[in-house]
């Protein structure tokens, strides 16, 4: 029995050791790894259902909605649920296609996530979120689905907020659009997943993009407890969504409407016009009152997922790329509207303000004659009249003289480049910094730009200089192109005399956006301060409390004295009555509202001229700056100026009810009731 007892003792030690092993391992699993396994348990046990927050509205300066929400019944499909079915949900989709009267194939395409080889109308959102199939369901259709849930597993009909645009196409590019957040974006926003989900829409362009975070609000989260089979057992955690803030903009929807109409008519009046833009600024504050671009489109096409055809249409060359806002992305030679900068440059270079300048019909710049408009000489002019009559030769001459002072073809070590630098002082050549994404910077073609450009292009040019253009059939043209390539190859880095002359009258390589021109004029006619224009004015909580107002930063100062500024402004004040725009404004009651401005007609090689009119009113105390640009619109006085006139007529109520009876922009934020309604003034 002794042996047995010994072995029983050994057994006891073994049992104790095994029990200790279990206890140690339990400690490891439950205490050391406990928090980690707790998280994994929550993940397996619950499904997070995102409750989207109501997106804030975008309002105009009086509180009228530019973009609002309408509630719509949305039918969505839980894709992962369908795929788990035996027939991958085909029977459900075919039943759904009866109710929604859409082909099954279309529905299948709609729920397939986008990817390589899968084009629109694919699903751009997260594959784990319900896919909205139809946002225009009527109540009867929704009830058909809701009442027969057992026949439509994975299909739901819910009330969602859908963006609606009371102004139709007005300002579509400026407002921007929404589309479901992509999975890649979701991945990038680690930790923000709860606030950013596949059912959420993200602002993609315009102010919807810039103010996306504020407008979006915070999505709510419902953590639903499920069992192993995915059956919901109950709600474990619920976080209510926080509605997004409303964005009050400085846009005046009435002026915006007038502007859209005027631009449309201008486009129609010019047979070859392929695009246009109109900008209305409040020059005192630098806020944007209206911003439109033609051709436009109806932003409602984005609601509920855009079709591939429509998407292609919006981006195609043929339709004129209506997605692109020409007000901030259209880069065109500004023509004579640029002369305000050139006059300032002359003054900086030392030309007297009250001097007399000869305006011959033609001026020799180097070995080439540069002509006035139609080659007509205008005698001896003051700078005032040079602007009013839009003399070119005065500017050719001064620009050429400054070019020579900098050393001409063989520049000095430090060049002054008065004309280019003054233009920069007016805010040209860099983005205005407006609260819109993807703004273009325009171009100031100075000596440095020439060099950089040459470095980029000399390779191709030099090759073409030797091979020529055999593919061009027209022999004369091929020869011309070859000569040009040779010239660009050998001396493309040199700023030529003609370049400087062209620059002074806003022709050649200089490019500006309509918005840049508008803010330069706004600075010129008010206080000389160059501002970064803003569309957003204030963010207002749904309960009416102002969260923050959007300031308009001053980013520079015009390089002129107050006296010079007033001199130029006075000159421009005469253009509409006695100058190049007199025809366009004939019959306009200048005694009531005096309009100042400058026409511009920029030549574009191989195309019709770009028509410009940059203007302000009233001339005494300017409250509005209006810039109209029509690409291939012809002369400034023919197309752009009449459009600007129509805008002023709308604002001040000439021959029609006034958009702003007081003749000045709204200066106070709209007031809201605690439940978010705008108090009518």
């Amino acid at each position: 029995m002794n042996r047995t007892r010994t072995r029983l003792l050994v057994l006891q030690v073994l049992v104790l050791a095994l029990l200790a092993a279990l206890a140690v391992r339990l400690w490891q699993v439950q205490v050391v790894r406990g928090p980690e396994l707790m998280n994994r348990a929550t993940e397996t046990r619950t499904r997070a259902v995102i409750v989207p927050a109501v997106r804030g509205q975008i309002l105009d300066s009086s509180g009228r909605p530019l973009v609002r929400n309408k509630t719509a019944l949305v039918v969505s499909v839980d894709r992962t649920g369908l795929i788990r079915m035996k027939d991958h949900g085909l029977s459900v989709l075919s039943k759904l296609s009866d109710v929604l009267s859409r082909p099954v194939a279309h529905l299948q395409k709609r729920i397939t996530p986008c990817g390589p080889g899968v084009g629109k109308p694919c699903w751009t959102g997260s594959p784990y979120q319900p896919v909205p199939l139809d946002e225009k369901v009527d109540t009867r259709e929704a009830l058909q689905i809701l009442e027969r849930q057992e026949e439509f597993p994975g299909v739901s009909a819910e009330i969602h907020a859908v963006r609606q645009y009371p102004g139709g196409r007005a300002g579509a590019q400026m407002l921007g659009y929404l589309s479901p957040v992509t999975e890649a974006e979701l991945e990038k926003r680690v930790g923000l997943k709860a606030t950013f989900s596949g059912v959420d829409l993200a602002g993609r362009d315009g102010i919807e993009y810039v103010y996306d975070e504020e407008l979006r609000g915070k999505a709510g989260l419902r953590r639903v407890q499920v069992d192993r089979m995915g059956k919901a057992l109950g709600v474990e955690q619920q976080v209510e969504p926080v509605s997004g803030d409303h964005l009050v903009t400085s846009i005046d929807s009435r002026i915006q409407a007038v502007t859209e109409k005027a631009l449309q008519n201008a486009m129609k009046s010019a047979p070859r016009a392929d695009g246009g833009a109109a900008v209305v600024l409040d020059p005192k504050t630098g806020r944007v009152l209206a911003l439109s671009s033609a051709p436009g489109y109806d932003p409602a096409v984005w609601a509920g997922g855009i079709s591939e055809r429509m998407y292609r249409h919006l981006l195609s060359e043929k339709s004129g790329k209506p997605l692109v806002s020409r007000a901030i992305n259209g880069q065109f030679a500004p023509g004579s509207t640029f002369k305000v900068s050139s006059v300032a440059a002359m003054l900086r270079a030392g030309y007297p303000l009250n001097g007399k300048y000869s305006c011959p019909g033609s001026y020799m710049v180097g070995d080439r004659a540069f002509n006035n408009f139609r080659g007509i000489g205008l005698g001896t002019l003051s700078l005032h009249l040079a602007l009013v009559k839009s003399c070119d030769t005065i500017f050719y001459r001064s620009a050429y003289e400054q070019y020579l002072r900098d050393g001409g073809r063989n520049p000095k070590k430090s060049v002054k480049e008065v004309f280019a630098n003054t233009a920069r002082g007016f805010g040209f050549g860099e983005p205005t910094g407006i609260d819109l994404p993807g703004e273009s910077s325009g171009r100031i073609p100075d000596r440095r730009w020439k060099k950089d450009m040459w470095a980029l292009t000399s390779g191709t040019n030099c090759k073409r200089a030797s091979t020529g253009y055999p593919e061009v059939k027209d022999g004369a043209r091929a020869a011309f192109l070859k000569r040009l390539a040779h010239e660009n190859c050998t001396e493309g880095f040199v700023l030529r005399p003609g370049d400087s002359a062209n620059f002074s009258i806003g022709q050649g390589d200089v490019l500006v956006t309509p918005l840049q021109l508008a803010r330069a004029y706004a600075a010129l006619v008010t206080d000389g301060k160059v501002r970064s224009p803003r569309i957003g004015w204030a963010l207002v909580r749904p309960d009416g409390k102002v969260v923050r107002t959007v300031p308009v930063p001053v980013v520079g100062k015009l390089p002129i004295t107050e006296k010079e500024r007033l001199y130029i402004k006075n000159a421009l004040s005469q253009v509409a009555s006695d100058g190049t725009a007199a025809g366009a404004f004939s019959g306009f009651p200048m005694d009531k509202v005096r309009i100042g401005g400058k026409t511009g007609t920029a030549e574009v090689w191989g195309k019709q001229d770009t028509s410009w009119f940059a203007s302000f009113a009233p001339t005494k105390n300017p409250r509005f700056v209006v810039v109209v640009m029509v690409s291939q619109g012809g002369m400034g006085s023919q197309t752009a100026a009449p459009a600007a006139r129509a805008i002023y007529e709308g604002i001040f109520g000439i021959k029609r009810p006034a958009a702003l009876p007081e003749g000045k922009p709204v200066s106070r934020l709209p007031r809201f009731t605690p439940d978010g309604m705008v108090i009518a003034e």
Binding site: R7, L8, V15, A21, A41, Q225
Partner: protein, 388 residues
Amino acid sequence: MTGGALAGRRRSYAQRAFGAESALWRLDGVLLVAVIALSVIGTLLVWSSTRTWAPGSTGLLKKHLLNEGIGVFLCAAVAMMDHRAVRAYAPLVFLVSLIGLGLVLTPLGATINGSHSWILLGGGFAVQPSEFAKVGLVLITAMLLAQPVEGTDRPRGFDVMLALVAAGMSLALVMMQPDLGTALVLAAISASALVISGVRKRLIALLTLIGAAGVFSVFYFEMLEPYQLARFTAFLDPNVDPRGVGYNSTQSLIAIGSGQLFGKGLLGGGQTTGRFVPEQHTDFIFTVAGEEFGFLGAVTVVLLLGVVLLRGLKIARQCEDRFGTLVAGTIVCWFAFQTFVNVGMTIGIMPITGLPLPFVSYGGTATFANLIAVGLLQAIRVRRQSFE
């Protein structure tokens, strides 16, 4: 009164049961309390893990209580017997258990939850003869090995052979079901009986070698079903296939781990409510303990089982006859093996084998077998002296 006269000659049943010299006072109280505590915990866990089967139901609670009741009755009945008398019935018990195992393989046998180990009795009741086979094997091996060679404390070689044959027979029948878990328990029972009975170390080494060769050939000749093999390897790395064979390991680890130190409270376990761990009222009931009672509760369950094992060992040591010692020691090894493998598989240190946790898991036959074994331990304790 005639009654008084009778009482004079024989003590009344009440006196025999509760009197000063009654066996009741010689019962192992600690063992009793530990088993009761485990049964109560098990009942609560069975309730918690099965009440979600249908809304508003109590799940298998009532049925489990019925099983416990029957088990307690069996336990008491066995405890009242003289274990030396049980020795005489050992061959009969073993034979009945073999017949039971055999019946499972006939058309009478039924498959429940993938294992063909049941005989249906009708009315929703079924027995699992392999559980009784454990008791049968304990008794027969103890009986065979209890008779030492004259003057030594080693069993006779012939008896060892007979014991091995008995073990082989029940093992073979269980493997034909197939029920790998129970087969391993049977192997552990006969191995521990041999060790405790005092066979030579050489023989132990030889048997170990044969066992190892057997295990090797099982793997080598692919005698295991692929799912069994997969379960064996999955525990080493549950992440290999967390939705497939690794699912059980992963989910039970998650459930236990999420209980953390204090647990989520009875009926408060989300993983249990969602039934993420399969078989959570039987083989994986320890996950419910881990989740709802936390580390403290889980360790308590392990400690209670430890108390049962240690008390069993004490009973084995204190018993003065070899049969009692062997029976008690073997029962301890049976419970120890099942406890370690069962708890170990839920916390990822043992492969997944279908074994219930003694006294805690749901299961009628297993409850009966376990409580009969406890009854045997008590019977041995009560009559530990060779001659009263």
